[in-house]
């Protein structure tokens, strides 16, 4: 499980551009919880995700994963337990390398990379099986270079890569934002399936209210570096997109009144 306690992060400290991106944000996810984070631009959603992944070190606050404070670990060490799918399909895969070589790197994320040929028949068979589940025909393209795949296909591979070595935490960073609606729907289905299947603890950032309502056990709304609203599956069950937008506005009004 993941516990984020009082996390603060200031960008450009000590300059006129200083901005408090995370203002003591706290969030706790039960094991297997699929949490969706929404919020307007600059609310701190992506900063929170980056902080948990280890993209930068945060100021005060702690990040606890399975009872272990990982807040001071470098990114590549956290990657043993944390998998991530980026917004840009190009970021999550390595160009110039084949689909299977990309998958191999993901399979070795939690373990040691040894001086031996990693592309075994057993591994290939296993990957083919996993890719076939997506229904995109990717199981026949193991030897193709990853850049010959479309953006949506690359993102689907990135998703398979992320769950290949059973991470303790899965981070999804607006991973459908750069895709066309049809492909996004496919990746959405795949996301729901893999997360559901492995009961992965998941933190997903999205701008899509519909996705936020349909997916996940929990919905969190962030604003100005804090969690402003947290809904359980039961609480959000009756809500429509309009209701959610209304909650957004209310929050804005409150901010206006307070200032």
């Amino acid at each position: 499980m993941l516990a984020v306690n009082g996390l603060r992060k200031q960008f450009f400290p000590g300059t006129p551009n200083a901005r408090l991106a995370l203002d003591g944000v706290s969030l706790s996810l039960e094991p297997g919880c699929f949490c969706v984070v929404i919020g307007s631009n600059g609310a701190g959603k992506s900063t929170l995700l980056n902080a948990v992944a280890g993209q930068f070190l945060v100021g005060p606050g702690e990040i606890v994963l399975d009872g272990e404070d990982i807040g001071r670990e470098p990114l590549h060490k956290r990657a043993r337990h944390i998998a991530r799918v980026f917004q840009d399909p190009m970021t999550g895969t390595a160009p110039g390398m084949s689909v299977e070589e990309n998958l191999l790197l993901a399979a070795l994320r939690a373990g040691k990379r040894r001086l031996r040929f990693g592309l075994s028949a057993a591994r290939r068979a296993h990957w083919r099986e996993r890719l076939a589940l997506l229904g995109l025909g990717l199981e026949n393209r193991l030897c193709d270079r990853i850049e010959t795949l479309s953006g949506g296909q690359r993102q689907a591979v990135a998703l398979v890569m992320a769950v290949l070595s059973a991470p303790k935490l899965l981070l999804l960073d607006e991973h459908m934002a750069a895709l066309d609606p049809v492909t996004a729907a496919l990746v959405l289905q795949a996301t729901a399936r893999v997360v559901e299947e492995a009961r992965l603890t998941t933190l997903m950032v999205t701008h899509n209210m519909r996705h936020a309502l349909d997916l996940g056990d929990r919905l969190v709304m962030m604003d100005q570096g804090r969690v402003r609203l947290s809904l359980t599956r039961a609480e959000k069950a009756g809500l429509s997109v309009e209701d959610l937008v209304q909650r957004f506005r209310e929050k804005d009004d409150r901010v206006l009144l307070a200032s």
Binding site: T91, T93, L104, L105, L108, A110, R114, L115, R116, G118
Partner: protein, 301 residues
């Protein structure tokens, strides 16, 4: 006809020379292409390998010991370049220049003077077969075999789990880190490996020519770059095998071109200018012809 004859006579000598310098081209290629860490420090690690090897030979050490020490010193120097660039966030090229400059003093310290004659000491060639150093065909066969062996080993390595991780760091830094790969250690080891090839070339050269000199590195980096570019033009770089083959094929081709220039009567001291011009032309070509042509075509259509 004299020109043709003198060129043909030069072919074996040039071939032996290019098989040594192929390792320098390899040392340029690995950081530049596989790690995306442009590093030109072979200008310093090449003479470092030669000087360490020469000094140890002159002290009475066995050729293999002297060569191992030379290669190890190259590894350390290459790793130092990577560490400086990564730790202090300095451009890799600048880090390389700093190390090259410092190595010049190191080389003079190691040898105690600017050059050492090695004719009287046993070399690796003598160790393999007495008189091998005087036999060009023998030398070419031996060097060719070593080049082939190293290429084979490198190709196998690039397909291992460690090798694929190394290529991932060069292909996509963010992805590599997100897959748990330490960019620091991979780059330090990779650049160190490349530099040890460059130092290895230095150890072979000093034994082949019979003397060690602090100035043997002057201009090797531009030769290595030119070799790499020509090689990539000839064999391409679409696959790992081609990318590994390119510097070797390029080095062989490049030194033959140089040989033609010499046969045509070009003064050796003008060669550096010619090499620089060649590299510049190759680097400018896509800008001058590629994109311009594409844009022109787009305008037409």
């Amino acid at each position: 006809m004299d020109i043709v004859r003198s060129f043909i006579e030069l072919i074996p000598v040039t071939l032996a020379q290019s098989l040594i310098y192929a390792f320098v081209a390899l040392a340029v290629m690995i950081p530049f292409r596989l790690l995306n860490f442009p590093d030109l420090s072979c200008e310093g690690t090449f003479p470092l390998g030669g000087c360490v090897c020469g000094a140890l030979l002159a002290m009475g050490y066995q050729p293999l010991t002297a060569m191992a020490a030379g290669v190890a010193s190259g590894f350390i120097a290459g790793s130092a370049v990577a560490m400086i660039a990564l730790r202090f966030r300095i451009s890799s090229l600048l880090a390389g220049i700093i190390v090259i400059t410092m190595l010049y003093s190191v080389n003079l310290r190691v040898m105690g003077r600017s050059n050492i004659a090695l004719f009287t000491y046993p070399t690796i060639f003598d160790l393999m077969h007495p008189g091998l150093n005087e036999s060009l065909p023998g030398k070419i066969a031996l060097l060719g075999a070593v080049v082939a062996l190293v290429l084979g080993l490198l190709f196998a390595f690039m397909r291992t789990e460690k090798g694929i991780a190394l290529r991932a760091v060069g292909a996509n830094l963010d992805m590599a880190q997100a897959q748990g790969i330490s960019v620091w250690w991979t780059t330090v080891a990779g650049v160190g490996l490349a530099a040890s090839f460059s130092a290895f070339a230095g150890t072979v050269l000093v034994q082949s020519q019979g003397f060690s000199d602090v100035n043997i590195g002057f201009g090797v980096v531009i030769n290595g770059l030119a070799s790499l570019i020509i090689g990539e033009l000839l064999v391409g770089r679409q696959t790992v095998a081609r990318q590994l083959l390119a510097p070797v094929v390029g080095a062989i081709a490049y030194y033959q071109v140089i040989s033609v220039c010499l046969a045509l009567g070009l003064v050796p001291s003008d060669l550096k200018f010619a090499s620089g011009l060649l590299v510049l032309a190759m680097l400018a070509a896509p800008m001058l012809f590629g994109k311009e042509r594409v844009m022109a075509r787009e305008k037409v259509s």
